[in-house]
Amino acid sequence: MGSGAHVNDSPFPVAETLCPVVANDWVNDSYKHLILDAAHGAIHAEPGQFFHLLCPSIGENVPFYRRPMSIYRIDRAQGRLEFLYKIVGRGTTTLAALAPGEKLNIFGPLGRRFDFETRCRHIVQVARGVGLATLAPVAEAAGQLGIRTTAILSARSPKHLMSIEYLRSTGAGVISVTDSEGTSGVEAVEDIVRGLIEKEGGDFLLTCGSNRLLQLLQRLGREYGIAGEVALEQHMGCGIGMCFACVREFRAPGGGITYRRVCWEGPVFDIQEAVSW
């Protein structure tokens, strides 16, 4: 029952906070970038953790539960939390309708953070789609610790690539692959990752958002004997380990399969324990 939720001095490390919206702009035709003013709380978040957002009800879109969103960026200097999200259904539709100045009720920080600081010198992260939002803050945190990051970004087409500048600004190397250019196939990505491990000292694998990429990195991790983590998603009720709605299958230490809660034992898991889906 480990929890990576950051514990600070306050008696209640996890809280509901009403955060004014600073910006909520389109990044491309299906993603928005939400910036919240969280100066008075909720800023003690770490890469890999998430917040549970109380998306408003508008018309037919009446989301009952909160919606989990990874922290895309924690800007402690300005007291801001940033999210990068794709509009897919009821909750994200009403989230997208938020205008600057309106307030959003967020609950968190929740879940287990990435654990890389003392474990590596060169992180190789491979992200597709929304996965990017989850992995991006690792590059920034790693950079501050002098850990090198190379991010392989996979997307449908070049215009679906996001955050290249932000990642570069953290000092990360960025390699982009896309379906439309025919560069995103598993074999192509495999070649890139092997190169990074064999020639650039890549010694920690991170992924999020794609089953095939997870399987690839599990295989390469085993082959080269290097550790790694994966951030997983599952539909959530409470977000804080109480309802057991968010379980996924994992390889049990003693063999066999067990269920673990993505919100509580995760969303970050050992890459080899995750069962691909």
Partner: protein, 310 residues
């Protein structure tokens, strides 16, 4: 000052608000002070270890949800060694919910769990997911009574019987468990429902059926609490669809002595505190000195006369 204490048989709670079994967890201690609530009710424990239902485990609606969790459980030893200690720091009494596949196993489990730190045994005779097609002990008055009788033999703790709402005549079940010695009745668990993923022509839940809970179920379960209140003399703890103090007042007024807040804890993690404060404020506004005066305070409708100037 409103006296918020309520008495459920031989135990006294500092206020009438507690979580429903399976709707709180150790995580809540990271969000609020568990000393503020009337009781801590832990997730149902079974004699054996279980992983629970195959995902997907939830379907969301506008005003509630369908969950098929099953009872993931690591067994009574793990409960005593790993879960109970989390709550030792609080003065709040712990209600330990139990479930088992046979009457005998119910008795043995209750005996095993009657350890220091457990103040009450709640018999979950109503969980809709474990038994085939949702059938459960709680669907039969005699079976319900036998469970309660067996648990009473095996523990000196007060025993609450948590009923299932999936029955024709909940008052009859209530009378049966009262006669069997139950110290209180929790009314009620989730109602059996299902959903279809029509795009894929398949059940939306891994378990096909699940428990429907949340605000939209309140009118149904409230009616049952009222029926039970008219049928028995032991205290009743309402459980179903409460989100606000107003909702809890409905349950108290139809005859409940306390309430369990469930699903809404997942959406508003401090909902129980809002309910406690709201009930207290209501009492103050209405000039009631004690929250227990609310129990059964509903009276027949008065002929309504509007006050109007010309």
């Amino acid at each position: 000052m409103v006296d918020m204490r309520v008495r459920i048989g031989e135990i006294e709670l500092k206020n009438p608000v507690m979580p429903g079994s399976g709707t709180m967890g150790e995580g809540l201690a990271r969000v609020m002070d568990l000393n503020r609530i009337g009781a801590i009710v832990t997730k149902t424990i079974t004699p054996d270890k279980r992983e629970g239902c195959v995902p997907p485990r939830m379907v969301e609606y506008k005003d509630g949800s369908l969950m098929a969790i099953g009872i993931p459980c690591k067994g009574p030893d793990h409960y005593i060694e790993e879960i109970l200690p989390h709550y030792r720091a609080y003065a709040t009494p712990v209600v330990c919910s139990v479930s088992a596949p046979t009457v005998e196993a119910f008795g043995q489990l209750a005996a095993k769990l009657s350890v220091p730190g457990v103040s009450v045994i709640e018999a979950n005779i109503s969980c809709p997911n474990l038994e085939q097609d949702g059938k459960a002990f709680g669907m039969d008055a005699e079976a319900s009574a036998r469970v309660v009788r067996r648990i009473k033999e095996s523990t000196d703790r007060p025993v609450w019987a948590k009923l299932t709402p999936n029955v024709t005549d909940i008052a009859a079940i209530a009378q049966a468990v009262e006669a069997a010695g139950a110290d209180a009745i929790t009314c009620a668990n989730g109602m059996l429902g299902m959903a279809v993923d029509v795009e894929n022509f398949q059940p939306a839940l891994g378990n096909i059926t699940g428990g429907m809970t949340g605000p939209c179920m309140r009118p149904i379960i409230l009616r049952m609490a009222w029926q039970v209140a008219r049928a028995v003399k032991i205290p009743i703890i309402g459980s179903g669809g409460m989100a606000t103090a107003r909702d809890a007042l409905e349950y108290l007024m139809v005859g409940c002595s306390a309430v369990q807040i469930g699903t809404i804890n997942f959406v508003r993690p401090t909902a129980m505190l809002e309910v406690i404060d709201g009930v207290e404020a209501f009492c103050r506004r209405k000039g009631l000195r004690a929250a227990r005066e609310l129990t059964g305070a509903m009276v027949p409708r008065r002929e309504f006369k509007e006050q109007q100037v010309a």
